[in-house]
Amino acid sequence: MADFFALVGSALALDRSALAVAAATPGALAAALWIAFLGGVSLMLGQSVVLFANRVSRWRFVACLAVAGLVYVVGLVIWGITIWLSARVFGLDILARTITFAVGVGQAPFLFGFFCLIPYLGTSLQRILAVYSLLVVVAALSAVLEVKLWQAAVLAAAGWILQAGLSRALNRPLAGVRTWLWRASTGRPTPIMRQDALAALTSDPR
């Protein structure tokens, strides 16, 4: 547990040497994936207005947070794979698990994602956390791959572009999976936007 918090601290401090050491320890990947999972859960909590708007029950709410955390980890693993593919293109021969570690610890700022609940400032905070998270990913990639910061940034960007392209190409086939996940976790047929919900309510004068 102490190692876990030390890893979070190193990530938040953008301490590249500490991250390089941590990456070589046993259990580093599991700790990084836990950071990613908890970051995803915390971020979902910060964005939970969408669950409240859809009138999700308390138990479903908790289930949705867990599902969101898992989906977040899956997304990051895919990003890790695309970075690994990009690295191969650039001639770097590295383990995919090393990159997944870097991407996972990079989500440490999102452990504070629940603060996005704060009214009025929450949306700006989310952007700040996203930038912070990207900086940690670049620092961690630079540390574990022993490359310069700009090279790590190029790799992260290349991986992200590849992932975005994949996501666009698979958008239609994955739509069914998304709907199924939404239904299974929330118990609601389709997400209702808050404007729709409120418009229906106010359409009839009392």
Partner: protein, 318 residues
């Protein structure tokens, strides 16, 4: 000794900051929980009585005014003495008018901080202290808590739910005073300080659910360019030259900057739906505040001047 003081001071500042963060994070949960069905409003908990056509309802008044107080308001069950005086004077100046001042604008599921679910022991204590001495220092806690509720009303993610809850509270209060929904009788919302934001936010729903014109009078109002501006028939904007909150209060809201031409606020200004009335050397609150009995340079008590301007504003409405 100095090190010890610095250490403990830092600890205290840290604890206060943490408490502030907790308060901010919890702020939207009351209205969101109500919308999601996790919480019920006090009024909803009582079984709705069946509508008996022969039941004697209070007579409908000529005009309805709802006063929403500032962020110092701790409960809908009592008001600060200077506000009670202001309301009494306003009622005297507007015969045939119902003035409602028991709506609590800073909570969706309760009518006062004594019923607050998070830290209810603390809020019960604060409420009792303020009841005994309205100027008690603990009032700052209420101010901070209610600032976050104003922020919830402003926030585009939470505002729709919060403002709907506020509108429901206003409608319940109106009906309790004889207002017949559907008759289209205009409603005047008077919003003081943060109550101005809640008034405008709730206007979106009041205008639609009552199918009636909504007029707003703001006194030292702190408000954003809320989408509710679109639903306000006319807004009277009263500000004191010594009111620092009026100057500070508009800056954080980008939609109120003149450069944001298409914001609901600036569109309302462009349509000449806003009447701006300077109130002379009046401060936001305290002895020089809008509701104080301290005389202005012309010898008129401040509260009297405020009542006169509010009365004229209301009577000038179509």
């Amino acid at each position: 000794m100095i090190d010890w003081l610095i250490d403990n001071l830092l600890l205290l500042v840290g604890v206060a900051f943490l408490a502030l963060l907790v308060m901010a994070v919890l702020a939207p949960l009351d209205s969101l929980g109500w919308w999601a069905g996790w919480r019920t409003r006090k009024a909803d908990q009582q079984a709705a009585p069946s509508l008996d056509p022969d039941a004697i309802l209070p007579a409908e008044a000529e005009r309805y005014i709802v006063y929403l107080s500032g962020i110092g308001k701790a409960s809908g069950r009592w008001s600060f003495p200077e506000e009670t005086d202001f309301i009494a004077r306003l009622k005297a100046e507007l015969p045939g008018t119902v003035v409602i001042d028991d709506v609590f604008p800073y909570g969706t599921t309760f009518r006062g901080l004594e019923e607050e679910r998070f830290f209810n022991v603390l809020w019960g204590f604060v409420n009792n202290r303020l009841l005994r001495r309205p100027t008690a220092t603990v009032g700052w806690l209420v101010n901070i808590r209610n600032i976050f509720q104003v922020a919830v009303s402003v926030d585009h993610r939470y505002g729709p739910f919060y403002n709907l809850g506020a509108a429901e509270s206003v409608i319940e209060a109106l009906q309790a005073h004889g207002y017949r929904v559907g008759n289209g009788r205009p409603v005047v919302m008077i919003g003081y300080s943060g109550g101005a934001q809640v008034s405008i936010g709730a206007s979106t729903y009041l205008a639609q659910m009552l199918a009636a014109p909504i007029q707003v009078v703001t006194i030292g109002g702190v408000m954003s360019a809320d989408p509710g501006c679109v639903w306000v028939q006319h807004l009277h904007y009263l500000y004191g030259e010594a009111d620092a909150m009026d100057r500070i209060g508009k800056n954080p809201f980008a939609g109120r900057w003149p450069m944001m031409k298409q914001s609901p606020w600036n569109r309302m200004l462009g349509q000449e739906k806003v009447t701006v009335t300077p109130m002379g050397p009046m401060a936001h609150n305290g002895p020089l505040g809008y509701f104080s009995s301290e005389p202005l340079p012309n010898g008129q008590p401040r509260v009297e001047a405020t009542v006169n301007v509010v009365r004229e504003a209301i009577l000038s409405n179509p």
